[in-house]
Amino acid sequence: MQLIKTLTASTALLVVATGAAYADDHMASDMTLVSWGGAYQSSQTKAYAEPYMANNPGVSITWDESSNEAVAKLRAMNEANNVTWDLVDVVAADAMRLCDEGLAMEIDANEILAAAPDGTSAEDDFGDLLVSDCFIPQIVYSTTFGYREDMVPAGAPAPTDICALFDTETYPGMRSLEKRPINNMEWALLCDGVAKDEVYNVLETPEGQQQALDKLATIKDSVIWWSAGADTPQLLADGEVFMGSTYNGRLFSAIEEQDQPIAMLWDAQVFDLDGWIIPTGLPEDRLNRVLDFVKFATDTQRLADQAKYISYGPARFSSAPLVGKHAELGIDMAPHMPTDPENAKNTFLYNYEFWADYRDDIDAKFQAWLAQ
């Protein structure tokens, strides 16, 4: 009897809940967004989610901090036929993989994204950054180096060149590098005398891969390998390493917000993109809600607003002039953007196509090399 009561009650609840979900023009009232957590996610909350909820009272947004394993989780959800996410923040390479696997919805930028205020179509406003048919870019970030100013040996100049990484004579001390071949192999070749536009041609060959590993081997004993973006700022702050690679926004907050004696080394920074994908197979009401949110959250003003909270460059051309000052510190954000001309004198763009093909192969060699 009790059981029947409970069942009836929960069915009734379900009916009410479904009714509510359909109330607003067939738009769901709940949304689950997936992001990276930390300062980045809070910049999204402040710049996109809070204004959106203010405009649409009754909509609730749940955040899931699973972006670093989004591809695997989305694949598992898809196999279980129960996709609980509505919008997922991923790096461009993952967006391409999700698109390849049919797990992300293909979009028509002009149709679902807002045009720039001057009427430029979304496709032109995002330009080359629409690297995949499924990808809605938000920011340009870079993987670059920070170093401890107070650990530069007396008499030595402050490092300005990426190859300071390999120069343990002038700059002794540990380094921290990401525990994967991507970026590290490119930097190694670059500092082994390979011309910038030759790097991927060289890296395609087994000899080139060995050359890069040999170069990395010269500093292998001085490297701490990281797997979370927060590691390098922590290691720098603790004085564990002299220099280390990480995402530029992480270094910005260590330098400006936490006042650590760290300086940026922008040389040979590697640009990458981060943005949204919409999972395939969403029910109509949820899809409508997500489309409504995405259109709002990736318009010119919102992308510019995000730069108030974190030093990543907005992905729209039209947002760049609107980038202002940091919301709390009041400092100008433009000089801290990876795309600032002063910082972007020597840059790399993550080669998606190359790494999609060579990732498995080079990673096997890299990991075997690490284990030796």
Partner: protein, 529 residues
């Protein structure tokens, strides 16, 4: 019998729960280590045609293989399955991922090589309704169902439903390629896109397929005596085949990407076309399946055997240090007065209740070079400031942190066994003249062995599957095989390899357990009184 049934009914809910939520998922995950039906499902025609190709000669595959590839790949591209196949094959041969992706984009262009001249020969070919009329008829129901089943397997979607199109048996005989491509198109348009077939323009692949049919002289002569719908357009095409491309699909594919002419690309596809593959297991033990048989991987790519050995050795070291550290603590707990013992017990349990991540991060703070331990040693003058001890980001760090984390799993079973050893035995031994050491070693210790056994099994098996702690403090030489499994599950998405590694790990653990049973005896293990 009734009794047994009743008992079974009582445990049935739990049993079903365990089977459904635990055993079935694990088995299905493990099954992925040999499963390989993606190749045969995605490009079925190609796989069949390729089975006749002798890969041991330098002879490239027959034109038929490329034709099947075109028909298969075109519909796979529509269903967005071709890139999945590319990802799968890329595990075996670098470069196939982009080969499939870029070729997928140019399939329309290949079809247009035939579409444009055909439409010039007879403008009727531009009309969707003309195609519909030409291809429809009766008697082709069997053919339709056959294509429907292939389509369903390829896309993994339900393709049942009304198509509004039945190919005519006559046209299936006359133009087999065209009928295949058109039927695929009709199925997709009607069921997936919900369109009316007659109103839709056919895929570019249909024109390519007609081009394939028109290369056969028998088909040409059959077309000339054909009188069904669309006969005049077909006869016009047959009369003007010199306007169609003079090359075949091999040239068309090689033109798009020269890798399609490469022998080893086809050898890889052929090698991985069976539904089951030993490939993942071979990869998991640093071997690889090549067209010439099983080979060892080059030295600079061997990693898994090293990691398996390291995992076992380090798990043993961790178990041993847990015994060394845990035994005295358990002894104290069992022999101190109740009040003191319960305070000590809380000290043992407190870390046990703390989150794993917090404890591991705490070890980071302690162990790093500018960390608490090094600072104290430098301050005391034991260690020179310039060469501080490297206690983490290596195997040492993993052993220290994991010993601490797993210690309660050793102490608790030891304690509960020791608690049951009557102190009078030791006293009796001493009164008979035994020294302290003899009384302990000959009388007390043997009775505590079941506790060591239970604790060791717990610690060892837990240690073997750990990956968070090694990931954080292990650096490069302190990581375990589970870290690679986690990597293949969540980053590289090579679930087949992850499943193979997991299966091997499971079998190794079961094997060790069996050895343990043979040597020590499993009834010699006690978790308590």
């Amino acid at each position: 019998m009734r009794q047994k049934m009743r008992a079974l009914m009582l445990v049935a809910p739990l049993l079903i729960f365990v089977v459904v939520t635990f055993i079935v998922p694990i088995l299905s995950m493990l099954f992925r280590s040999v499963e390989n039906d993606i190749v045969a499902n995605t490009i079925p025609g190609t796989v069949v045609a390729l089975s006749e190709w002798d890969g041991s000669t330098s002879e490239p595959p027959h034109e038929d293989v490329y034709r099947n590839l075109y028909i298969d790949l075109f519909k796979a591209e529509e269903a967005k399955q071709h890139t999945r196949l590319g990802t799968r094959l890329n595990y075996e041969k670098t470069g196939l991922s982009s080969l499939f992706r870029t070729t997928g984009r140019s399939l329309d262009d290949i079809g247009e090589l035939w579409q444009d001249p055909l439409e010039d020969i007879d403008p009727n070919f531009e009309e969707g309704s003309f195609w519909y009329e030409m291809m429809s008829g009766s008697g082709g129901e069997g053919f339709l169902e056959q294509r429907r089943a292939l389509m369903a397997t390829m896309s993994g979607e339900d393709m049942s439903g009304e198509v509004g199109f039945v190919p005519s048996a006559e046209i299936v005989d006359l133009l087999p390629w065209t009928a295949s491509a058109y039927t695929d198109f009709a199925l997709w348009a009607a069921i997936r896109d919900g369109d009316t077939v007659a109103e839709e323009d056919p895929w570019e692949s249909v024109y390519g397929a007609l081009g394939m049919d028109l290369t056969s002289p028998e088909t040409i002569s059959a077309i000339n005596s054909y009188g069904g719908p669309g006969a005049s357009a077909l006869q016009a095409a047959a009369a003007n085949i010199d306007q169609l491309p003079s090359f075949g699909f091999r040239e068309a594919f090689v033109e798009e990407d020269e890798d399609w002419g490469a022998h080893d690309v086809w050898a890889t596809i052929k090698l991985y076309s069976p539904n089951m593959t030993p490939g993942y297991f071979l990869n998991a033990v640093d071997m690889t399946l090549t067209p010439d048989g099983v080979e060892s991987k080059p030295d600079n790519q061997q990693i898994y055997t090293t990691l398996f050995t390291r995992t076992l050795v380090m798990a043993l070291i961790i178990t041993a240090s847990c015994i060394l550290l845990g035994y005295p603590v358990a002894w104290l707990l069992a022999n101190l007065p109740m009040r003191t013992a319960s305070i000590l017990m809380i000290l043992v349990l407190l870390p046990f209740w703390t989150s794993l991540l917090v404890r591991t991060s705490a070890w980071k703070v302690l162990l790093q070079q500018q960390g608490v331990i090094n600072e104290i040693l430098v301050w005391l003058g034991f260690v020179n400031d310039a060469d501080r001890l490297i206690l983490m980001n290596n195997a040492t760090g993993t052993v220290i942190a994991m010993t601490h984390i797993l210690l309660p799993f050793m102490i608790l079973p030891l304690y509960s066994v020791m608690k049951t050893i009557p102190p009078s035995y030791q006293r009796a031994a001493k009164s008979l003249g035994a020294t302290n050491w003899t009384a302990f070693w000959r009388v007390y210790f043997p009775q505590s062995v079941p506790g060591i056994g239970a604790g060791s099994i717990l610690v060892f098996i837990l240690a073997i599957g750990y990956y968070i702690t090694p990931e954080i403090v292990g650096g490069t030489d302190g990581v375990f095989i589970s870290n690679r499994i986690a990597y293949h599950i969540s980053s590289s998405l090579n679930w087949g390899l992850a499943a193979a590694l997991g299966t091997i790990l499971l079998v190794v653990v079961l094997g060790l357990y069996w050895c343990y049973d043979k040597i020590v005896g499993i009834d010699n293990v006690k978790l308590g009184g």
